[in-house]
């Protein structure tokens, strides 16, 4: 575990996992359930941008923005047309909403496969720079952009949650929905904001990570799973918790194969999750809500 190059890739994929988990956390706070469609939002942004650049010959800047727009719109529509309606019909129980977003997951995946084609596409970059070499470390430009953007996004989101009016309202809704409704807070609008923001963050994560691995319509499900795991490890108590969870998960994914063979990553995650659930089910970081 002394090779700095490996730690660099921990940082890189950890940042990506953290961003996806942050998007999960925002919808979890806003709507009170796990939005399994987060991975597909990231996928559709990346795949859409790549397709627009490569097949439709649209300039990279515009197609990246369009990709982001698709993710944000799809996320907003999920809340307005699906989650809100289903919860209105079937009460606040989480299972109907979960089944509904699972359906959204398949719709976005297969819809993206139908529109943008099924083969994997390389990710697009706005400007390409690097790679640089420092001693033994080989640093790619995409890594720098991904890690720096992650830091900025987490900083902005935590400031927004602390200082802005909407952010504080979102926390109020997350802490106690019925009390927020009783107080006359605009719960519906705040939930929508949470979903739009989650779509935006997931879209950015997808766009920044796609240059490293490429993107196909099936990436959505696997990204959904890793983000979920990062959130499980990190917990939901603090805005920074998803990033810590993402980095821990990244470290497991990078180092476990060295020590445990191909058995490693998922089994390690399972064991860690079981340990957490047994001793610290609220994750690494948690808050106690005073009622």
């Amino acid at each position: 575990m002394t090779d700095p190059q490996l730690w660099l890739s921990v940082l890189e994929i950890g940042s990506f996992f953290g961003l996806i988990a942050l998007a999960y956390q925002l919808t979890l706070i806003g709507a009170g359930f796990f939005n399994f469609a987060i991975g597909p939002y990231a996928m559709v942004a990346a795949l859409g941008a790549s397709w627009l650049t490569i097949e439709a010959k649209i300039p990279v800047v515009i197609s990246l923005l369009l990709g982001l727009l698709i993710a944000v719109v799809v996320s907003g529509l999920t809340e307005l047309l699906v989650v809100r309606q289903v919860q209105k019909r079937s009460g606040s129980g989480e299972l109907p909403a979960l089944v509904a977003v699972t359906a959204v997951l398949f719709i976005v995946q297969q819809g993206a496969g139908t529109v943008f084609g099924r083969p994997a596409l390389p990710g697009q970059m706005l400007v390409s720079f690097g790679p640089w070499q420092f001693g033994e470390i080989y640093l790619a430009g995409t890594t720098v952009v991904l890690v720096a953007s992650t830091a900025v996004i987490f900083l902005l989101v935590s400031l927004w949650m602390k200082l802005s009016r909407t952010g504080r309202l979102l926390r109020a809704v997350g802490d106690n929905r019925s009390a927020a409704t009783l107080l006359g807070l605009p719960v519906g609008r705040i939930r929508l904001v949470a979903f739009l923001l989650a779509g935006l963050i997931a879209g950015i994560a997808g766009l920044l990570y796609a240059p490293k691995t490429g993107v196909a319509f099936t990436s959505g499900l696997s990204w959904t799973l890793v983000g979920f795991l990062a959130l499980v490890i990190g917990g939901t108590g603090r805005t920074w918790a998803p990033l810590v969870g993402g980095l821990v998960l990244g470290a497991i994914q990078v180092f476990a194969p060295f020590y445990f063979g191909s058995f490693g990553p998922t089994t390690m995650v399972l064991l860690i999750a079981l340990l957490f659930f047994a001793f610290r089910p609220q994750g690494l970081f948690s808050t106690r809500v005073r009622i």
Partner: protein, 334 residues
């Protein structure tokens, strides 16, 4: 309380009638399906897949629809059932039926362990742990090569025989469909029985069940174990017909698909799982080649539509139609 919650029983007398009518109708439909499939290997495979999906969905029915606990490990349970039969038939000289027994027992044991680990936590943690177990299970199958055949899996499994008689495939499929009908009938019996009512009440008002002196955590564990055992049968069935199994056969996407099955058919009855399985297979496996892959899209859109417009599924529509028919007949008489 919730709109897809079970409705309380119709009067006992009508339930007793239905106990015979529905399974008999299912037998008749199965007979029709068999004559439709005789002579076409592809159609026979479709019937096998319907049976497999129906069994997985029936396994999910008691814990998921009735008790409201979402486990995501059903792909792993099906794989356990499949590997049990495969290993028993290829590695030992024991009867394959033993594999059919061992698989469900192992699956139920795994389900109990996973459930006990999360019993004090909310339902989401069960989903997380079982999802992780499903993910971790596939590498285990690959790594345990001496037992499971690694990533190549186990092939060349001899076709099952009935006391030494090499039955034609259509007879075996008839047995498979019969198994589905028996399991669906049993699950439906459980649903309407006293135990089933307790389980369904636990889903909506757990405190009431707890107050009556029933441990809800224990009850949840039992439902999960039953579900795992039933889903395991699906894997055993699959391997008995396809005669090979690899670690990639039962993937997570099957779990997500199986979440849809009871919803499409209708959650009010266990038979909804069977109806839903027929529709899912029609949409995903039996589509003309130019629509390949769009079946999942249609399916997911259909699920959303059902959730938004008709939470009772196809059975709900059928019931409403029968009620309307009865009313109009009564009106016409008077």
């Amino acid at each position: 309380m919730t709109s897809i919650a079970p409705t309380l029983d119709a009067p006992r007398r009508r339930t007793a009638q239905r106990q015979f009518i529905v399974p008999l109708a299912a037998v008749a439909i199965a007979a029709l399906a068999l004559s439709w499939a005789s002579g076409s290997g592809f159609r026979q495979d479709l019937l096998v897949m319907v049976a497999v999906y129906a069994l997985i969905a029936l396994g999910m029915y008691i814990p998921f629809v009735m008790a409201g606990s979402m486990s995501m490990a059903y792909a792993a349970y099906a794989a356990i059932g499949a590997y049990s039969v495969a290993i028993v038939t290829t590695e030992t000289s024991l009867p394959p039926l033993l594999g059919w027994l061992i698989g469900p027992l192992i699956s139920a044991a795994v389900a109990v362990v996973l459930s006990l680990l999360t019993r004090r936590l909310s339902g989401f943690y069960l989903a997380a742990v079982t999802l992780l177990f499903s993910l971790a299970f596939e590498p285990w199958l690959i790594e345990l090569e001496p037992i499971t055949g690694g990533s190549a899996g186990i092939g060349g499994i001899p076709s099952p025989t009935i006391f030494g008689w090499e039955a034609p495939r259509i007879v075996l499929i008839a047995i498979a469909l019969a198994l589905v009908i028996v399991v669906a009938t049993l699950v439906e019996r459980i649903r309407t029985g006293a135990w089933g009512v307790t389980v369904r009440t636990m889903r909506d008002v757990p405190s009431a069940v707890e107050a009556m002196g029933t441990r809800t955590t224990t009850l949840t564990t039992v439902t999960l174990a039953i579900g795992a055992a039933v889903a395991s049968l699906a894997g055993a069935l699959f391997v008995s017909f396809m005669l090979s199994i690899t670690p990639e056969t039962f993937t997570l996407s099957i779990v997500f698909m199986a979440l849809f099955v009871p919803l499409i058919g209708g959650q009010a009855s266990a038979w909804g799982c069977v109806i839903g399985a027929i529709i899912v297979i029609q949409l995903t496996a039996n589509m003309p080649s130019e629509f390949e892959g769009s079946g999942q899209l249609v399916l997911a859109l259909g699920v959303l539509l059902i959730l938004l417009v008709a939470p009772a599924g196809l059975i709900g529509y059928a019931k409403a139609f029968i009620a309307w028919l009865k009313r109009s007949v009564r009106k016409a008489r008077s």
